[in-house]
Symmetry: C2
Subunit: 238 residues, 2 copies
DNA sequence: TAGATTGTTAATCGATTAACAATC
DNA sequence: TAGATTGTTAATCGATTAACAATC
């Protein structure tokens, strides 16, 4: 049956046909950025094709899991061959929304906030840090990378005026909830919180906590088990 | 039946009787430090008793989950009353191995490594940072908090001589694997890795990755869904 | 055709949570 | 005793993975 372009096209096997995709399981969403990282590294070594087995080895996961995770994006592999690295990178970026730029602000211009702003690589990954704020008048006006530290008073107006999407909290625990409240009131939808507190936020706001103390404590638990001669599960990764 | 101390004690309802405990599910291990944090905060407000409902509300989780998680420690609650805050803190600390001190070194004295060493609160949480290393001769000898930056060459000997337990990798991606190899060769069992790479490590070594890029990308995905009018799952937390 | 690898099914495993008897 | 809350069971849900037909 050769192509007859008379009849209305139904695109039955057109991979770009309207997706109407179901929600990707959150465990898979958490792994997609890891695959993206590995694929980007592979691209630097001029690798153009990769199999689920290879990718699995590099990501320290099961190959079936890799194939299942990638299948949520669409059917982009070639049986007997593998996946085209560049195409897969594009598809993961599309799925994760990394073809857009997400305006980000950092709150707190201490050591951590400054380190993140300057070295976090946020801007280069599509998350331009458009401002950094601090409450300390001695810090306001000083430079952090390309940015001049702004007064916390201006934060809400700035977020509204600039349509900021993401807020990074690098403030002391005592201040975190109040800053979060202000950011949410100003319309921000996602927070990356470095303060060791559980933020109270309305439904619909996404919060990711990065608590270094928690991470260390989990390692401490594994060290204790090791000390007791308990064989460890091979690896635990966030 | 009153106590008769003649017969050999069987300690049938002695809570401190030999535990011989099964492994705690890893999902529960990940939450215990969060409960610990909340309980420690509660203690500062002079709260001495807490119910699973209250704790659940503060941790943003289901109350049945709290009770189940705590039941892995032992049966330390009182029906009709709740849990004693101080006692629960002690039990979580015991279970997580936080009654010991775990010697920690930081590798990389850049912005992030310095921020962690000075402000991470590691030492105060039972993870004393006993040394910081860098490969850059201009950094070696400079001060970071109480510590003087040591040359990376000394790292392996230092780890062996001091019985260091945990290594924090705050080095560029390109250096992370080689530093990890050295640390593991020197006998370290647990790594906290800030470099955006998947480390290859022998079985038995525990690795936790904290990749800020990955965290942001997950937030980007949620921002994209929000932009498409998809109602978000209430919260996503590491 | 022979060999390789995907995409998907189905079995299994682990995590979550409603429900409620036990008990303070 | 009445009210409150734990500890645990069992149902349910989601994640993982072995296996294999499909197919390059």
């Amino acid at each position: 049956m050769t192509a007859l372009n008379k009849a209305p096209q139904k695109n039955i096997d057109d991979k770009s046909a309207s997706p109407r995709r179901r929600r990707i399981p959150s465990a898979a969403v958490n792994r997609l950025p890891v695959y993206l990282q590995i694929l980007t590294d592979l691209q630097l070594t001029e690798t153009s094709q990769v199999s689920s087995d290879q990718l699995a080895a590099l990501a320290n996961v099961n190959a079936a899991k890799v194939r299942k995770d990638l299948s949520y994006l669409g059917t982009y592999g070639t049986r007997g061959v593998g996946y085209e690295v560049a195409f897969l990178i594009y598809q993961i970026k599309r799925e994760l929304g990394l073809l857009s730029q997400w305006k980000t602000i950092v709150v707190g211009a201490g050591n951590l906030g400054s380190a993140i702003t300057v070295n976090g690589g946020f801007t280069s990954r599509g998350f331009p840090v458009v401002a950094i704020f601090d409450v300390d008048p001695r810090k306001v006006g000083t430079r952090v990378g390309d940015l001049s530290v702004r007064n916390l008073d201006e934060m809400k107006d700035f977020v509204r005026a600039n349509g900021v999407h993401i807020g990074v909290l690098a403030v002391p625990s005592t201040a975190a909830q109040s800053v979060a409240d202000d950011l949410i009131a100003a319309g921000i939808g996602s927070l990356l919180n470095f303060a060791p507190v559980v933020l109270t936020t309305p439904k619909g706001v996404t919060v990711r906590n990065v608590d270094l103390g928690v991470e260390l404590q989990i390692l401490g638990y594994h060290e204790q088990l090791r000390g007791q001669g308990v064989t460890q599960p091979s690896r635990v990764t966030v």
